[in-house]
Each structure stands twice: as C-alpha cells, then as structure tokens.
C-alpha cells in the first residue's frame, strides 16, 4: 500500500515534469535552441494565477486562464525581442540569451513580488484535500489525480494538433527543414512564434499544477523543476512529444521511488545516474529519432 501511494506521488510529480518537458521539447524541435527561460515562465504563470485569486478575487479556473493568456503573450514577446534577432547567429549566442532572459525574469519577479515566499492556494481546493481508500491506508490527493489527467489530455491534444491541423503540420515541417518549409510557403517566423506561444501556455498550466501540489511560491520556484523537466525531455528524446511525456513520468517515478526505497540523500543522483545510462545506450533518448546529419 505504501508502494502504491509512492507510485501515485511519483506519477503526479512526473506529470508536471512531462508538461514542462513538452514545452522544452517543442521549442527545441522547431528552433534547435534550449529555452532555459522556460522554467521561469512557469514561475510567472504561477504568480499571475496567485495574483488572480488572492488580489483580484477571481475563481481558480479564471485565474488559470488569465495565467495562460499572460504567459502566452510573454512567450511570444520573449521570442520576438530576445531570440528572433539572433536567429542564424549560431546556437551559443541564443543559449546565452536564454540564460539572460531566465535571470531577467527571476529578478523582475523579485522586484515585483518580493523575496518572501507566497503560499499558493490549490486549484482544486473546492474538492477537499484528498480521498481515502482502503480504510485510510491509501490517500490520494485531488491534485495528483487532476495533474495526471491534465498531462494525458495535453499529450493527446498536442499529438492531434501536430498531426491533424494545418498549423501543426507547418510546425513539423519547420522543425524538419526550416529552409524547405519556407520554400513551400510556410511563414517560418509565425510558426516559431506560435510554438513559443503554445509552449508558454503549457508552462502556465504546469506552473499552476506544480504550485497546487507544492504551494510555496518564490521567484526561483521554476528553476529546479525546469532543469528536471529538461532532463526528462532529453531522457525521452528531445523533440518528441510522446518522448517528453514518457521521460517526465519516468523521472518523477524514479525520483520518488528512489527517495522512498533507496536513499533520500541520493534521489537526485539516482535520477541523473539513470539518465547517463540511457544516454550511453541510446544517445537520442528513449523515443528520440536518429537524425541524419546534413553535410
């Protein structure tokens, strides 16, 4: 029973990682850049939602929508102002800019909201705190259930979007061959901008889910989950949607089970140890596609 409860906790944590990893993966897939500011967009999303409920008195679902809207806009602004001017200048310049944007967001949050942590009220507060099964031996929180459902819905939605819609197909085309896609009449700038918008909207959802489960909200809140989710994206095969999902869930489950049964001191070491082994055996990640190098 303890194992089951640890497993559920792992799945819930992994689902959050998975949603964040999706954003990382999509942006990497299309622009071949690591958007290190992604974790901080999560933090901004959580703060916006916090402000919506605490200061504006909005209901939780409306605050979530507000967070999605703000983060979508923020993602497009970041892309337009910081990354677009550097397109074609080499990946190092963009990488360093991404780190700069990350610091900028963290410090802006520090100025706006201060360093004192805020306590996020859960999106699912109305449901009560948890449900008890098997005479109270197993308790499952509503956050865990909804996070898992949200992750599955997001993955199905994204898969359908990229395979069925015109915009989604354009995204895939740009990610495969930027130049050829342009020749086919696809507006590359718009497509990349749209990818950032979608990635940032997912980040807002992830931020709200993350802070619903772990309610302390600070300007550095997004940093560590961002890194773990990046790991998850690499683990599952960066650029692949089901890969990000699988990687996220596995990282979450390994982290929690490692902490519970092996050593709480070594849980992060175990996660990254598994990552190294997977990358040694399969350098493109679990579901990654092998790209043929263009000459």
């Amino acid at each position: 029973m303890i194992f089951l409860s640890n497993l559920i906790n792992g799945l819930s944590l992994g689902s959050v990682y998975a949603i964040i990893a999706l954003g990382y993966s999509m942006v990497y897939g299309i622009s071949k850049m690591l958007n290190f500011a992604h974790g901080d967009v999560i933090m901004v999303g959580a703060y916006i939602s916090f402000c919506g409920t605490a200061y504006l008195g909005l209901p939780a679902w409306l605050a979530l929508i507000l967070a999605i809207v703000v983060c979508t806009a923020l993602g497009m602004v970041i892309e337009g102002l910081a990354y677009r001017p550097l397109r074609g200048t080499g990946s190092l310049a963009v990488l360093i800019t991404a780190i700069g944007v990350s610091y900028f967001l963290q410090n802006a949050a520090l100025i706006i909201w201060g360093s004192a942590p805020k306590v996020f009220s859960s999106l699912f507060e109305g449901f009560g705190s948890s449900i008890s099964l098997f005479d109270g031996e197993l308790t499952v929180t509503w956050e865990a259930i909804f996070t898992l459902i949200a992750a599955i819905l997001v993955m199905i939605g994204m898969t359908l979007f990229t395979s069925r819609t015109k915009a989604g197909k354009a995204m895939r085309a740009v990610s495969e061959d930027n130049g050829a896609a342009q020749l086919m009449g696809i507006n590359v700038n718009t497509t990349i901008s749209m990818t950032f918008a979608i990635g940032s909207a997912l980040a807002a959802v992830a931020g709200v889910l993350l802070c619903s489960s772990y309610p302390a909200l600070m300007p550095t809140t997004g940093a560590m989950p961002g890194i773990k989710a990046f790991t998850a994206a690499v683990f599952g095969g960066i650029g692949s949607i089901p890969g990000a999902m699988l990687g996220g869930i596995l990282i979450g489950v390994i982290e929690i089970l490692g902490r519970a049964y092996i050593s709480s001191e070594l849980s992060d070491a175990i996660v990254f140890g598994v990552l190294i082994i997977v990358l040694l055996v399969k350098p493109t990640g679990l579901l990654g596609k092998k790209m043929t190098e263009k000459v």
């Binding site: 303890i2 805020k118 550095t220 709480s264």
Partner: protein, 394 residues
C-alpha cells in the same frame, strides 16, 4: 585640435571633482564637533551588513529595523552618548560583505554588529579578526563564524546548540515517543542541527525511527519522506529547516492524514507571516524560537509596539536579534568604561574581556545571556506552540 579640447575638458572636470570631494570631506569634519554642542557628545560608530535586497532581504531588513529601534532608544536616553548605526547591503554574499566591511572601515566603524547571514559572516569575521575590530553577529548561527576568532560573538544560538536543546526538550516532554526527522542535507544549518540532535538523543536514550533528507531545491516533493515517517510510526517529527519547505510539508502531511507533533526550530519562525498561508495547517506545531512577538513580557511588548508604529509590521526574531545586538554592545561598552575616542584595538580587547568575563545581558531573545570564550551564547530557549494563529509560550 578637437582631441586636445577633449583632453582639456577631462582634466578640468577631474580637478573640479577633486575640489568638490575635498570640500565635502572638509565640511563634514567641521560639522561634527559643531553638532556635539557644548557637551561634546561621544559618538560610537556601529556598523553592520546584511542582505537588504535579493532573496534573503527579509532577514537583513529585519535586523536593520530592529537595530534602529535600539539606537533611537539609546540616543534619546543619553544625549551625551550617541550611537551612529550604518548598515550596508551585502546580498548575503561573502564577497560583497567584505566590500561592505571595507566601506564601513572607511566610514570609521568601531564595532561590527553583523553580519546577518552565515556565509558572509565567515568572510567578514576573518577580516575583523585581522583588524582587531570587535564583532557581535545577531543571527549568523554556524559554529564556523566564531571558530578560532577571539573577537567574534553571537546573539543567536549556534546550530549544534539548537539541536542539543531540541533533543533535551523532546526527550523530556515527549519521553518514549518515536521521533522522525526531515532535514535538508545540503544545508549546513539544517545538517548541523540534525547531527547534534541525533547525538544528544542517543545519549538520552531516545529513539529516532526515521531520518529523512531532501536536497536544496524549492518546491521539492516531501511525500516520500512523510510516507516513511508515517510508516515508521513517528509521533514527533523534528523539522530543523526553514519555514518555506516546512509549509509544503505541513500541507502534504495533512493531505495524507498524517498528524504527528511537528517540532520546528528557529527557522520555522515566519511561517505564520507567509502570504496566503492557511494558518490552520500550523495549528499545534511546536517551535523553539528565541523570540515570541505575542509574549506578555513587558520589554517585548514595548519593542513590538515601537516596531509596529515605525514599520507597520510585526517584528520577527531577526529584528529582535538586531535590537539585542545593539544593546549588548552598548551595555558591554558602558560596563567596560570605554570611551568612543579610543582605538579600535583597545575597544576590541576591553569588549572581549567583558563578554568572556561574566557580562550578562537580559534581552528580547532570552534573559540572562552569557557568552563563553568560544563566542557562543548561553540562554534559555523559548518553546512555543502555535495555537489560533499565534505563538503561545509552553
């Protein structure tokens, strides 16, 4: 031609600036005695540094505000002896703290009441030891701060001392109960308390059934640690950690219907002030804090009233530490019969003599505070329980 003109301009401006600076310096020098008036008041310059901006700014700001209340009281009580207090921002960073310290030296600092955080204090105390400037830190709690430096003293408990006091209290008041611990193994503060706690519990024959750790990241998940504590049957769970992770732990424990007695240390102080925190989660939490703002003690009540009037918020323990730091320095300075125009090294030696020679100070953070020659404070810890959203002395 144009180039020469620019050169001339640069030289002219530089000359003007030098003049302006000497003028300022001269003006300041003349103004000082004039200020003193006929009594020629003594002025003791106490300097400090702490994080006034950045992630740890709540601590530095609180120390500054608490100290300023003490300085205002001293200056009002005795016009012939004035304290000048200056606090520099060090962002809790060792390198910036040393820069701040050098700035304070240029200002003419005579005694250091700082620094606020451990990392920067270790860096500054090494400098102060070289320069023979007396240093009393309000809140840097690591034993490394004072180790090997005869001129550095602490207002707050050292981390190991807190662990020992917590173990003593728990083994006395929760005798025979199973004890679990969740601590941060990448933080010297948390680990220092835990190691001393564990050793003392073993010496007292207490039983630690689960010792769980977590690494230093925010928004970590504590469900696995709590599940382990629960399945090991821990009835008392020690949380030698800061209040931010503690707030998450309390929520997750409630979600899994696990309700042991949570026992915090001074890092737990502040949990009730977190914006948006559901204080019912903390109901029944016990904590060992040096300062209870809801205390009925007369001195505390007076301090809280002044602090609220000045800053419109409830003081935390850092504010009380800053207040005590200034008063401990002032009282020892007076008791040693020192005068503010003496050399720093003379002041330093006389102050060390006071602090190690039986000087006692009754402060907001503990009565009958005495110091040993290692620089550690000895005082009685206050154990409180959170009831109805405030601390109640136990």
């Amino acid at each position: 031609m144009k180039k020469n003109w620019t050169k001339f301009l640069v030289v002219a401006l530089s000359v003007m600036m030098v003049f302006a600076m000497t003028a300022c310096g001269g003006g300041g020098g003349e103004a000082a005695p004039a200020d003193g008036g006929e009594a020629a008041a003594q002025v003791l310059k106490i300097g400090s540094s702490g994080p006034l901006t950045g992630g740890a700014s709540i601590y530095g700001t609180a120390v500054k505000q608490g100290a300023e209340i003490a300085v205002a009281e001293i200056n009002e009580a005795d016009p012939s002896f004035q304290v000048e207090f200056k606090m520099e921002d060090d962002e809790a960073d060792g390198e910036k703290a040393v820069n701040a310290y050098n700035k304070l030296k240029d200002w003419g600092v005579q005694v250091i009441m700082g620094t606020v955080t451990t990392g920067s204090c270790i860096a500054v105390s090494a400098e102060a030891f070289e320069d023979r400037i007396f240093e009393l830190t309000p809140s840097a709690s690591s034993a490394d701060v004072t180790a090997g430096k005869d001129n550095v003293f602490q207002v707050c408990f050292t981390d190991p001392n807190q662990g020992i006091k917590a173990a003593d209290y728990i083994s006395e008041n929760f005798a025979g109960k199973k004890v679990g611990v969740i601590y941060n193994n990448s933080d010297p503060y948390s680990t220092g308390i835990f190691n001393a706690f564990k050793a003392e519990m073993e010496a007292k024959g207490g039983e630690i059934v689960a010792a769980e750790t977590y690494p230093d990241d925010t928004n970590a998940d504590y469900s696995a640690q709590l599940t382990n504590c629960k399945s090991a049957g821990a009835e008392v769970v020690l949380l030698p950690i800061y209040y931010t992770p503690a707030s998450v732990i309390l929520k997750q424990a409630k979600d899994m219907n696990y309700a042991p007695v949570f026992f915090g240390v001074d890092g737990m102080d502040g949990i009730l002030d977190m914006e948006g925190f559901d204080t019912t989660l903390a109901e029944g939490v016990m904590l060992m804090t040096p300062f209870n703002p809801w205390s009925t003690d007369e001195n505390v009540a007076s301090f809280v009233e002044k602090y609220q009037a000045a800053y419109n918020e409830l003081p935390n323990q850092f504010a009380a530490d800053g207040y005590d730091g200034v008063y401990a320095i002032y009282n020892a300075f007076k008791a040693a019969g020192l005068s503010a125009d003496q050399e720093n090294a003379e002041i330093c030696d006389a102050m060390i003599g006071q602090f190690t020679g039986g000087f006692t100070y009754d402060g907001l953070t503990g009565s009958g505070m005495t110091w040993n020659d290692k620089g550690e404070v000895n005082k009685t810890p206050v154990v409180c329980a959170i009831e109805g959203g405030i601390y109640v002395d136990k």
